[in-house]
Every structure is written in C-alpha cells, then in structure tokens.
C-alpha cells in the first residue's frame, strides 16, 4: 500500500497532497523534488531519475502526466507496477472528472480532487479507479477552466489538432458536467491509435519494426447500452512460424497477425475466438478497450534517405529525402525530422525545394542538431532538404559516423499501419429513432522512427 499521494508542478509546487497512513515524514515532497531535479548516479553528470527510488527508507514513485508530477510514497515492499499504474489511472480519473488536467484545473477543483482521492484510496489500498463506479460516491461538481490554451492529455487528444471533422470540445468535457442546453449529446468515440517504431539500416533496409496499438473508447451514451465491436475476421494472435508472414499492403484488409493483445476488464470475449467481436458495456470515461502489439512486417509510411558528404575544406553537404508511401488521399501532419550533426559544426545554411510551403529548417547550435519541420506531407509526395555545413576543425575522415541517425516524428490521421479495423460498431438499444453519433477514428503516430546513416 502507499503512504502518501501528491501532485507537484514542474517548479515543485505542492498542488495536491494527501497522507493516507502518517508513516512518512512531512518533508517528503521537498526530498522528492530535490532528488528528481538533481539526480546523479555514480558521480556521473546529471541524468534522468528512474521512476522508482529510495531515499532514507522511503520509496518514491512518480510519473509525469501533462507536465505534472504524480507521486506516491511508501515504506514497504509494494508492487511497483501497481503503484505506477495507479498513478496513471488517478491522472486519468481526475481528467475524466475535471475535463482537463492542468495545474489550474486541479487548483480550482481541489475539493472535488480530494473527494476523488478519498474514494480511490483508503489507508493506502486502491479501492477503485473506475470513473463509472466513482460516480455514485462523488458529490462535488467540476468547475470548468479555459480549455483553449491548455495542452491536451491522453492519446485521443491528438484528434484535436488540425482536423476539423473532430468535435474538439467532446474530448475536454467532464463526465459529470451537464451540457448548457440541459440535454446530453449522445455520442461515442472509438479511436484506433497506433504508435509505430521502425529502424532503417544505412542501406535503407528495415532492421526492426513494431506497432503498439490501442483501441481507445470514450462513451457519452445514456443508459449504458451494450456495444459490440467487430474487428477483422482474419486476425490471429501469437506468431506461429516466424518469417513466414507475407508482405501485406497496409491499406488492404488481409490477415492481421498480432503478437499479443490484452483487454479492458469490461470486455467480454465470448465470441472473440469465433468471429472477432468484442462485447462490452462501456464504463464512463476514457479507457483502452484493447491493447495490441505487432511485429508482422508492414509498409512503413515514410522512407527516409540521408546523406552527408564532405564538400571541400571544412565544409560538408547534407541531403535528406522523405518520401511518403501512402495514398494521396491521406495527409500526414506535424512532421519533424531531426539529425545530429558533427560536434564541430559551426554553421548550417539550408535550401528548401522551390515552392515548399509550411516548412522550416533550423540548426540548433547548442545540441548540434538539424531540425526540419513540415506542416504537412501529402501521400505519394517527396520532400528534400539540402544543407551546407561549415566546420571549425578537420573531421577525422569519418563524417558519416559522427552524424545521424535521422529521427522523425509525425501524425497521420485516418491511416493505420497494422490493417486492424473496426468493421462495425453496434449499439444495442431498442428504439428505432435512437441513432447516436459514432466516431470511429484512426491515427498513426511515430514512436521511434529512425534511419541510421
């Protein structure tokens, strides 16, 4: 069990503090913050503090959510994954209730937050983190904060950027807040979010590729109807013979082979083995219906080519090409390409393609990195960046080894790499006039997308 729970701002201010057992001294918040801020190990230079550590017999756990530090302490030999998972869930529950998770919203709603914390944990033992269950015990109402300038939270938040099709306010709506009109809008969101990791070798060959996917759901349906979600029928779990899988088109509906998957506790799998449908009564709040992992080969959305060549005395040239290998009806956005340059680089000048719009290239002097950001890339297109570098000293003759790898971050809405699909979403409710909004959305994001040089 845990002893204390607290939330600190990035500056170390105490925003929420709850002591459940009175066995850890009062100064724990300062001790924790000092330790995290000035983490050192074996006399090495500053490093990042691990999520679990011990100071004077007190064990500290922390996770970072929305720029805030969620911390728990204990003196006993607890399950660390339980505590870390709990901290994530507390963040999610608070977000469900407040609509937005930020220092401001926590401060404005501290009474509600304490009420939640008392129901979530008793004497250090987790009672429930289900937004749904908690509803019967919570009496305070949330106070809305200005959402316009706040950084969004949670995987579904990526839908808020750019795309106009998404009703932006829905995601920052509290589960217990009433609509101004007095009537709730009947809607349900099902998001298929995939984070892809690809490592290309210097010759462009794929070394590793992996997809971490989540089917995320957020339901605002009244009366808690049962929902059926049907996935690809041709889906198998667990790799049998490796290296046997064939190369599939990412947009095709071929067989999907998952390495492993797991499900939310509300999901019933009675017919899953037969027809790949999941049945559930969605609880309130945002939650992952299913998580899956896949190492089956897939076509990576981008091909990256990077080249660095010496071009005369103390000079070099860099060429980076990014080719989008998905359909032209799809557009990727917020793309950032980064490449570390040799340490002795002093200057870089850039040359973008003629007619390039929404592109910025920059040389980060301190970290010696090239950064190229593109507002969007349309499927099928190719973008090139040329840079001329100036060095302060001779290279050791191996300039390629001293630069790179090129890494990329991006978001591609309405695209998924695995081929996993929600075939239909059935809401069991008798009335014929009942036709709630159903939003099934796909998005793919880069996790670790790297091309070596």
């Amino acid at each position: 069990m845990i002893s204390q729970f607290f939330v600190l701002s990035q500056r170390g201010d105490n925003i929420v503090f709850r002591d459940y057992r009175g066995e850890v001294q009062k100064g724990s918040t300062e001790t924790f913050f000092r330790k995290v801020k000035f983490w050192r190990e074996d006399g090495q230079e500053e490093a990042q503090a691990p999520p679990v550590f011990n100071v004077d017999g007190v064990n500290y756990f922390h996770v970072k959510v929305a720029g805030l530090l969620f911390v728990a302490t204990t003196r006993v030999n607890v399950s660390p994954s339980l505590v870390l998972e709990l901290l994530q869930r507390i963040a999610r529950v608070i977000k469900d209730y407040l609509g937005v998770l930020s220092e401001d919203s926590l401060r404005k709603n501290f009474v509600l937050v304490y009420e939640l914390l008392d129901e979530v944990i008793d004497f250090g033992y987790v009672q429930t983190t289900s937004t749904e269950v908690l509803k019967s015990y919570i009496f305070n109402e949330p106070i809305a904060v200005d959402t316009a300038r706040l950084p969004p939270l949670g995987p579904a938040a990526i839908f808020m950027q750019g795309s106009k099709r998404m009703p932006g306010t829905a995601v920052t709506k509290s589960v217990i807040a009433n609509e101004p009109a007095g009537r709730k809008r009947e809607e349900i969101f099902v998001d298929i979010i995939e984070k892809i990791s690809v490592t290309f070798s210097s010759s462009g060959y794929i070394l590793t590729s992996e997809i971490d996917g989540t089917i995320q759901m957020k339901s605002y349906l009244s009366g808690n109807p049962e929902i059926r979600v049907a996935l690809n029928e041709e889906m198998s779990i667990g790799r049998g013979g490796r290296s046997l899988y064939d190369y599939r088109n990412s947009s095709g509906s071929g067989a999907v082979i998952l390495d492993d998957c797991n499900f939310h506790e509300s999901v019933r799998l009675d017919s899953f083995d037969m027809d790949r449908t999941l049945t559930l009564v969605p609880p309130d709040g945002e939650f992952p219906v299913m998580n899956y992992r896949m190492t089956q080969e897939f076509r990576p959305p981008f091909r990256v080519n990077a080249l660095i060549e010496e071009a005369g005395n103390l000079k070099a040239e860099v060429i980076i090409k990014v080719r989008a290998e998905f359909s032209s009806s799809i557009t990727a956005n917020t793309i950032v390409v980064q490449m570390p340059l040799p340490k002795y680089t002093t200057r870089a000048t850039f040359e973008l393609e003629p007619g390039a719009v929404g592109q910025i290239a920059d040389f980060r002097e301190v970290s010696k990195k090239l950064e190229w950001s593109l507002k969007k890339i349309v499927g099928g297109s190719e973008n090139t960046l040329r840079a001329k570098l100036t060095f302060s000293q001779e290279s050791h003759g191996n300039i390629t080894k001293e630069s790179g790898p090129v890494s990329m971050t991006f978001t591609i809405p309405m695209y998924n790499a695995s081929g996993l699909q929600v075939k239909y979403l059935q809401i069991a409710k008798k009335s014929s006039s009942y036709n709630p909004y159903r939003w099934v959305r796909y998005v793919t994001q880069a996790n670790s997308y790297v091309a070596r040089m």
Binding site: Q48, P51, N77, L82, V111, F123, I143, D212, M290
Partner: protein, 899 residues
C-alpha cells in the same frame, strides 16, 4: 455552484481566522459550506487553522454529504492535535454509522479509523462490529480496511474484540470487492505479527482463485500477491494453480500481469514435467514483452524484473532479443536496462545483430549510455568466445572515431578481453598505443599501463611508453600509481637492460619514500625485497600466469537471486536488493515473541512449523532477522567456498566426525530462515538458525522433504569458523517420507574448530543423507546467540572498565533508520537478549543509555546508546577488549532495535 474554488485561497484584509469563524457560524447553509471550503484550502497550503476546530465540528451534523466530507477531511488532519476536542465528534460518528444511507455509514467508519486518538478508538469498536456485518457491500469493504487501521493503532484491541475472525469470514463474502479488501487487510496484519494469523490453506486457496475472476483489477493484485505465499503440496496442485492464474496474463493492467507472472514462476519450481514448464515459458513471453509497450515508467519496472527472470530461465525470452533494442526516444533509465538484458540474451546466434546495435549506440549523444554500450561490447567478447574477434574489430572501429570517452572506455574493456584470452589479440596493441596521450581518466590510464607491462616483451618501445607516464608519477591517482609500479617491475623482469633499471629505481624511490599511501608503499617494498633477494622468485611471483576471468560482473549471487525471484513484482525486484535491505517501518505495533519464549516442543509442532516457514520466507518482518548473510548483501562479500576445499577441511577434522542420525526428532517452533531452498537441494529444503536457550547455544534446524523419495541417514558437519562452533552431539533426524518435515535442536559447542583471520559471521555447513549428494550452504552466525547470562556489570566496575580500556578500543556506528519509540519495551528486549541496562542520563535533548554484555571466554562489551525517543536515528558506541568484534556486535544490535 458559484464561482471558482480557487477564490478560497485568497486572503482578506480583516484577520482571516476571525472572519472564517464568523462565517462558519453563519445561519446560512451555503455560507457555512463555503467557509469550510476556505478552511480546507488554508489547511492544504499549510496554514494552521486548528483553532477553528470547534466551529468546524459544529458543521458536522448535516444531511449535506458534500459538507460532511469536508468536515471529516478537516477532522482527520487536526484530531490528533486536539484529542480532547475530537471527543466532541464521537457522538456524530456513532450516529452516522447507523444512518440509513450506506454512504454515510461507510464514511463514518472510514473517517473514525483515520483518527489516531486513543479515546476515539474505544468508541470505534461497536460501529465497526456492526459495519463488518452490514448489508451493503460498500460498507463492509470499508469496514474490512478499517480493521487494518485499528490493528495499526491497537493490535490487542483487534484481537480481543474478535475482529480477526470477522475479517476471515469476509474472505467468503459474496462481493469480490469485500473479499479483496479483507485479503489486503489480513495480509498487512500478518506482516506485522509474528503469530500465524492469515494462513492460506488449500481451502482458502480455491476460494480466492474463484474470487479472482470477479475482482477488480486491483483486487486481483491483492489476491495474487497473497496467494504467492502459498506453497503447493505437489506438482499436480502447482499445475492446477498455474492453470487458473494463466488467464490473468491477458489483463490490460500491468500490475496484474506481473503478479500473475510471479505466481506462475513460483509454482513452476515445483512442476517436474518439462513439457509443462516449456509451455508455460512460451505463454509468459508475449505478455512480458507487451509490458514494454506501456509507459516508460512501467517499462522500467518490467525490465528490472525481466533481468531477474532471464537469469533463472533464459529460454523464456531467448528469441525476443529484438524487443530489447533501444528506441531513439526511450528515457535513459530504460535504455540502460535494455542494454543489460541484451548482454544477457546475447548468443552466438544473434551476436551480429547485437553488435550492430551496440555500435550504433556507441555514437549516440548521451555519454553514460555510450560508455555502457562500449562496455557491453567488451562483456559480449568475454562471454562469447567465438564472437570475441568480431567484438574487438567493432571496438577498434570505435577507437578510430577518436571520441575521447569512447576510446578510454574501449581500452578499459580491451584490458579485460586480454585477461580473458591471453596471448591472442596482441596485434591490436599498436592501435591502442596511438591514443596513449589522450587518456586522462584513471581507469583507462591504469588499463593501458597494465597492457604495456603485461606485453612489454612484444612492444618495442615499452620503456619509452612507460617512461612518459613516470614524469607525473607523484600526481597520479593511486590506481594509476599501483599499475605503473607493477608494470615497471614487469618491464624490468622481462627486459633487464639499463633503461628499465633506471626506471625501476625512480619508481621504487617514489613509491616508498615519497608517498603516504600505505598500499603503494607496501607493494613497492615487497617488490624491492623480492628483486634484491631473488630475482627468479620475483619472476615467478610477478609474471605468474593469471587466472582467466569470466563475465560475472552483473550476475547475482544464486541465493540472492532466489530471494529476489521470490519477490518478483515487488520493489525488491526493482532495486535488486532483499526487502530487509530497504524496508524500515517506523511504527511497529508488534508483540514479538522472543527466541527464548518459544514454547518447547509439543507433538503438534510438525504441521505448524512447516507453515511457519512458508510465511516466514516471504514476509519481510520475519526475514529481517533471519536471511542468511550471503543473501543479505548486494555485494556477496564471502564468496561461496570452493567445494573441494570445504570437503577437504571437513573430512580432515577429527574432533567431530560426521555424526549419524539415530534418534527421533524434536519439533522446532520458530519460523526459521531457509538456508537451502528446495530448488537447490533437489527437493530437500533446510531452514536453520543459531539460537540461545537456557544458556546454551543450539542450531535449530528444519528439514522438509519435497522430493519424491524418502530420505534418511542425515549427518551434519561445520567448517572452521570464527567462533569454533561445532556440533556437540549427533544430528537427530528420522527418516523423512516425501512431503514430511522434521525439526531438531542440535546442541553446539564453541572453540572447537577455530578459523584464523579477523572474526566474521560466516558459518559453512555441510549436510548429507543416504540418498542425495552432500549439500553445502552458508549461514550467518548471529552474535545475539552468544551474549551470556552473566554479562551484567555493576555500575562501578562498568565505569572502571570503561576508563581502563584505551580509546582505540572504542568503536561507534550510527543507525539512521532505527527508532526507539518505547524505552521500556526496548530495555526489555535488550535484557531478553542478555544486554543489561546499567544507567541512563540526559544530554541536551538526547537520552544516553549504558548497557553491558559479555560473550563466552568473558569478553565484555560496554555499550552506549544515544538517541531521542521516537525520532529515527540511534548512535551506538561500544568499548571492548576485542574491537574486531564490533561489526558483528552492531549487526546484532540492529536486529534487536529493528524488531
């Protein structure tokens, strides 16, 4: 609701407290509620609003739940500082606990349990009794946790009022939430008690396994963790348990998955069918890998656990090495752990892939990570003979990039590679020498110098190279000086020409006359004497063949690994330290039975003692005083003695020949630490501990036969040890049928087979029987067992002895984690261990206590403890004619203080 809560944080010009007081007493409900909110706001930012206690409590009697909760929150915070006023609230609490609304009933019980005021506790019992039997599950589950709260305040009360029985009844409750909380409460109570309270029988086991399926995710973790202490009777039962736990591996909650993995691993130890084991390994792999898709914080925990798991069962993830490749955006703490596991999984089959990765990492930005990657290449070279050459060529490539810290790190690992494969890769020395003048880190310098000295005959200009270092000899760190000294001697022995001869003069001069470092001086004198008396002997010594090294730098000691594996999915598995190395509970409400108090053997002891052991192994409380020495230290100081030596010693001893077993056993009472786990002893498990009874030392042993055959003919033998402990009579263990266990008390004598050297607590034991090979294990000698009953000194003789002993005989140590909260109890405990109280005085705000004790042959200990009651931190100073015993004494004292 009106406006924002944050407005409550604003201050007013008119004094804040009087204004709040006025508002709290307002006739308007809303105003009162707002006022309480303001009070809470002030409280959370650390302002003292305790003076409003009465006014806030007056708001308690309300139907408004929102307001009631706020008042309760206030009460929990301030009741302790206002115990007399807190009584005012009792009536409302008791009334609320009978409210028709279950939420209010639960709220009342929950809050009362959080108010740690004795007077309130008395009133809590009746409501708690009612609520444990409430119709509403929400009330029952709250009451279950409340029993644990009450136990923490007043354990006796809980036992007297029969709450433990009610709690056990709740295990059969029809609501899984209630079951989970009852399990959590019982597990906590058990942890703080030395009596068996919560024993998992096969009956409770099946009940809990059934409840598991309906529980919330958190409840599943409570139950799985409680069940992991259960020891299955045989392989069949183990398989049954595993079968019912395996579906938990599919859970989205990582804590559930890891706890399920722990449980399966535990039961696997008992499963004999290799097919079943292989199949289980296969099932566990994907969920373990999936943990690496969670948030980085959870990945870190998963990786630390996987590190342990692959040491025991390398096959589980043998094919999954790719998932441990570092991602570009992994936090550094995740990358470091992945590297460690990659080294563990590296094999001839995947080494090319792995090296490609390491090479890439070695050019990244983060210096620590780069260094570790270079080291990883070296460790793979040492681990995989066939890949060594490839590893070296990667290292050479990296050296050519000429990044300073990469070069230095590479040289350090190449030195190790030379140690592992002598006379194989010297051709690369020339390349290394190119980087000579860029070396500025002591370890790299020392490594390079070692290489030059070791291969002096093959390096043409070895003398020039070494000479370049000699100029700065006096300024070098001692690590480099020592290597320079040895390397110069090697050079001289290999090439006894004029140059080296002059160099050796300079070095020996520097290292003997102009240094304050005793290590360096001693080594230099030895060389000097060797060289001047017998240069040939010097050659034999200095140029002797060195033992080949292996890569065990991150391999854990087997007994420690055993203990850590039993603690998978706990903090212990993240720190890679046994629980008692970091668990320090401040409050302890334990009526601990002393060793002496154990009831002497009764016939019924058999079954009970085995279940004791099951609890004892996993509960940190019990293990704190009992884990064998080797397992307790992260760095296994006493390396397990090589087997042939020990055997030789044993057989060579004539004063106590191996003793046969011929008499019926005597049951043992206390939970003994396991010294030979069943996994090591082919099913035979031995638990043992030295204890003192009626002025005599006994070795209390428990034998459990988990193997498939009957075992008989037990004999025992002790190796030489610091106290000369040996068996005073034969070991008395009857034939053990499979599944049976027997305990015995073996009388011991002292000063029989004394070992030389400084005293240490290592006790090496050999046990044999007619069916199995000889088992060797290490135990720890607790000094507690040696304190004699006649150790009490008179005040005057204490003072005289203290003065007569020189100051050099005084040793002191701080125990920052130890707390004395009840002086009387501590004195009683000390006395029970034959540490006798002499006097007490006050010094500033601290209390100073004096004690005396003695160990056999009349060696006295004079003890001074300085502390502040209730505050962590105890300073202990001792004076004794045998100061070399001090470390053992402090260990003993720590055990006593910790209880």
């Amino acid at each position: 609701m009106s406006g924002h809560d944050s407005k409550y944080f604003s201050t007013t010009k008119k004094g804040e407290i009087p204004e709040l007081k006025e508002e709290l007493n307002s006739q308007y409900k809303d105003k009162r509620k707002d006022a309480v909110k303001k009070v809470i706001a002030a409280m959370t930012v650390g302002k003292d609003v305790s003076s409003l206690f009465t006014d806030v409590v007056n708001c308690m009697q309300t139907e408004n739940l929102e307001l009631k909760k706020l008042v309760y929150l206030y009460l929990i915070n301030y009741a302790k500082s206002q115990p007399d006023l807190a009584i005012l609230a009792v009536n409302t609490f008791v009334k609320d606990s009978q409210d028709p609304n279950p939420l209010i009933r639960a709220l009342a019980v929950r809050t009362m349990g959080c108010i740690r005021v004795d007077k309130i506790t008395e009133y809590l019992c009746d409501p708690l009794q009612r609520c444990l039997k409430d119709d509403d599950p929400y009330v029952r589950k709250t009451a279950a946790i409340c029993v644990a709260k009450l136990y923490d305040i007043n354990a006796e009360l809980v036992e007297d009022r029969g709450f433990l029985e009610s709690l056990k009844d709740l295990i059969s409750d029809n609501n899984p939430m209630v079951v989970a909380n009852a399990v959590a409460a019982l597990a906590e109570i058990q942890e703080n008690s030395s009596r068996p309270i919560f024993e998992i029988t096969s009956h409770t086991l099946s009940k809990l396994l059934t409840a598991l399926n309906e529980c919330t995710e958190w409840g599943q973790v409570f139950i799985l963790d409680a069940l992991s202490k259960y020891k299955a009777a045989d392989a069949r039962e183990a398989e049954n348990i595993v079968e019912r736990v395996t579906p938990r591996l599919q859970h989205a909650n990582c804590a559930v998955v890891l706890s399920a993995v722990k449980m399966i691993l535990q039961q696997m130890e008992l499963i004999t069918s290799t097919d079943v084991v292989r199949n289980l390994c296969k099932k566990m792999a994907p969920p373990l890998v999936t943990l690496l898709s969670a948030e980085p914080e959870i990945q870190y925990v998963a990786l630390r656990n996987i590190n342990l798991i692959v040491q025991r069962r390398p096959t589980i993830l043998a094919h999954e090495i790719k998932v441990f490749f570092c991602k570009y955006n992994d936090p550094i703490y995740v990358k470091m752990e992945k590297l460690e596991i990659m080294i563990k999984l590296a094999s001839d089959r995947n080494i090319d892939q792995v090296l490609l990765e390491f090479k890439e990492y070695a050019t990244e930005v983060d210096v620590d990570f780069v260094r570790k990657a270079v080291r990883a290449i070296g460790r793979c070279a040492i681990k995989l003979e066939r890949a060594a050459e490839r590893c070296i060529s990667v290292l050479l490539e990296l050296i050519k990039i000429k990044v300073n810290y990469v070069v230095q790190e590479a040289i350090i690992v190449i030195k190790d590679i030379f140690r592992r494969y002598p006379n194989t890769y010297e051709s690369i020395i020339a390349t290394l020498c190119e980087s000579l003048d860029t070396l500025d880190e002591p370890e790299a310098k020392a490594s390079m110098i070692w290489i030059i000295g070791e291969y002096a005959e093959r390096i043409d200009n070895a003398d020039e190279l070494l000479e370049s270092f000699l100029e700065s000899f006096p300024e070098e760190p001692s690590q480099v000086q020592l290597q320079l000294l040895t390397a110069t001697v090697k050079l001289f022995l290999k090439k006894p020409t004029e140059g080296p001869q002059q160099m050796i003069q300079v070095v020996l001069n520097n290292a003997t006359i102009e240094t304050d470092n005793p290590d360096l001086r001693d080594r230099a004198y030895i060389y000097w004497r060797l060289l001047s008396t017998d240069p040939e002997a010097a050659k034999d010594v200095v140029l002797a063949e060195k033992p080949v090294i292996t890569d065990d730098s991150n391999q854990l000691d087997p007994s420690l690994l055993d203990e850590l594996l039993a603690n998978i999915a706990t903090l212990s598995s993240v720190y890679h330290k046994p629980p008692d190395a970091f668990v320090t509970r401040v409050k302890t409400t334990v009526q601990r039975t002393e060793d002496d108090d154990y009831p002497d053997g009764s016939e019924s002891g058999y079954a009970e003692s085995s279940s004791h052991v099951a609890d004892g192994v996993t509960s940190p409380q019990a293990s704190s005083s009992s884990v064998p020495a080797a397992a307790r230290q992260a760095d296994p100081a006493p390396a397990p003695a090589p087997v042939p030596d020990l055997l030789g010693d044993l057989i060579g001893l004539d004063n106590s020949a191996i003793v046969p077993v011929d008499q019926p056993s005597e049951p043992a009472g206390p939970p003994l630490p396991v010294v030979l786990p069943a996994s090591t002893g082919q099913g035979l498990q031995i638990s043992a501990q030295l204890t003192r009874r009626d002025g005599q030392i006994f070795y209390s042993l428990l034998f459990e036969n988990n193997s498939q055959v009957a075992l008989d003919g037990f004999m025992i033998q002790f190796n030489k040890n610091s106290f000369g402990l040996a068996a005073a009579g034969p070991l008395q263990v009857p034939q053990l049928q499979p599944g049976a266990s027997a305990g015995t008390l073996l009388p011991m004598v002292l000063f029989q087979n004394l070992s030389t050297g400084p005293p240490n607590s290592l006790l090496q034991v050999a046990v044999k029987n007619n069916q199995q090979p000889v088992w060797y294990f290490n135990d720890k000698i607790p000094l507690i067992a040696f304190f004699t009953e006649d150790g009490k000194m008179e005040r005057t003789s204490f003072l005289e002895t203290w003065r007569s002993l020189p100051d050099s005989n005084e040793v002191s140590k701080d125990f920052p984690g130890a707390v004395v909260s009840n002086v009387e109890m501590t004195l009683d405990r000390m006395a029970a261990s034959n540490l006798f109280f002499i006097a007490k005085r006050k010094h500033a705000n601290q209390d100073v206590f004096y004690f005396s004790a003695a160990i056999p042959r009349g060696v006295p200990f004079l003890i001074e403890l300085t502390l502040v009651v209730g505050v962590p931190g105890v300073k202990c100073a001792i004076k004794t004619p045998s100061p070399e015993m001090a470390p053992l004494f402090f260990e003993a004292l720590e055990t006593i203080l910790k209880i």
